[in-house]
């Protein structure tokens, strides 16, 4: 395992930047290409890169299985919750204009929240799929 020391150090150094970049894509999606979906993928890719050079167990120590599952459910609930909240505030389902006095402000807020929800779901699903496959393969070897 000596030869991958360089790789390990590089990935460890890169990880925060990958995660930062994912957040940038998430919150900058309004003015540049990108959004929740792409951000979730990149966020997950950071962790997957980490586990490729280390191993699955050490990743699961940082990011346990049940945490991912909670993020997963929470993401859907945020998205649906935003929709239900707008219904309570007198709008239609996902009618973000009801959030604020100015419709455009409400839209901006709603779009942001929804993108966060998407990002959480996508990130957690990719991690779950990765964990499921990884646990199987760990078993065989």
């Amino acid at each position: 395992m000596q030869e991958i020391v360089v790789l390990r150090v590089v990935v460890r150094l890169l990880l925060p930047f990958i995660l930062m970049y994912a957040l940038y894509i998430l919150f900058h999606g309004e003015v540049s290409p990108g959004g929740g979906f792409q951000a979730g993928v990149i966020f997950a890719a950071g962790f997957i890169a980490y586990s490729l050079v280390n191993d699955l167990a050490s990743l699961q120590k940082i990011l346990p299985h049940f945490v991912v599952r909670i993020i997963n459910a929470l993401g859907v609930l945020i998205y649906a919750g935003v929709g239900v909240t707008t219904m309570f505030m007198g709008g239609r389902f996902l009618g973000f204009s009801a959030f604020r006095v100015l419709p455009a402000d409400g839209q901006k807020l709603g779009i942001m929240l929804v993108e966060v929800g998407i990002g959480m779901v996508v990130f957690s699903v990719i991690m779950l799929v990765f964990y499921s496959f990884g646990e199987r393969s760990g078993d065989d070897s």
């Binding site: 003015v31 290409p33 996508v122």
Partner: protein
């Protein structure tokens, strides 16, 4: 004139290449790979429909007037997700098939099933 329809042609031909792969290969994982090509071709078709010559990407700036059609882009983001979702589920099923049957070749699976079926009928 011929070049004008090139994008549509390529997307349809790719679609059929993928379809041929699905039908002709007996390996389940290979089928999934070909299925991905099959699906991606639909994306190419949509994005080509939305393209406008000389127009900019649909991010509003003051100086530009012409933008390409944003709607196919939105639809295809969804379609990409659907594609990867079905591939993930398909892979999971393939892995389970490998564990249960010990093979992912279509004909070998059919043979194993047939043997089991015969054994069941004999038991009667």
């Amino acid at each position: 004139m011929t070049l004008d329809a090139l994008n549509y042609w390529v997307s349809f031909i790719l679609m059929m290449i993928g379809f041929f792969g699905i039908v002709s290969s007996g390996n389940l994982l290979k089928k999934l790979i070909c299925l991905t090509i099959f699906q991606v071709s639909a994306l190419l078709f949509y994005i080509s429909v939305g393209y406008v010559k000389g127009a900019a990407a649909p991010i509003i700036k003051d100086v530009i007037i012409d933008y390409v059609n944003p709607l196919p882009h939105v639809l295809m983001l969804t379609a990409i997700v659907v594609g990867v979702a079905s591939m993930a589920v398909g892979l999971a099923i393939t892995v389970r098939i490998k564990e249960e049957y010990g093979t992912i070749e279509e004909d070998e699976i059919a043979e194993l099933d047939f043997k089991k079926h015969k054994r069941e009928s004999k038991k009667k």
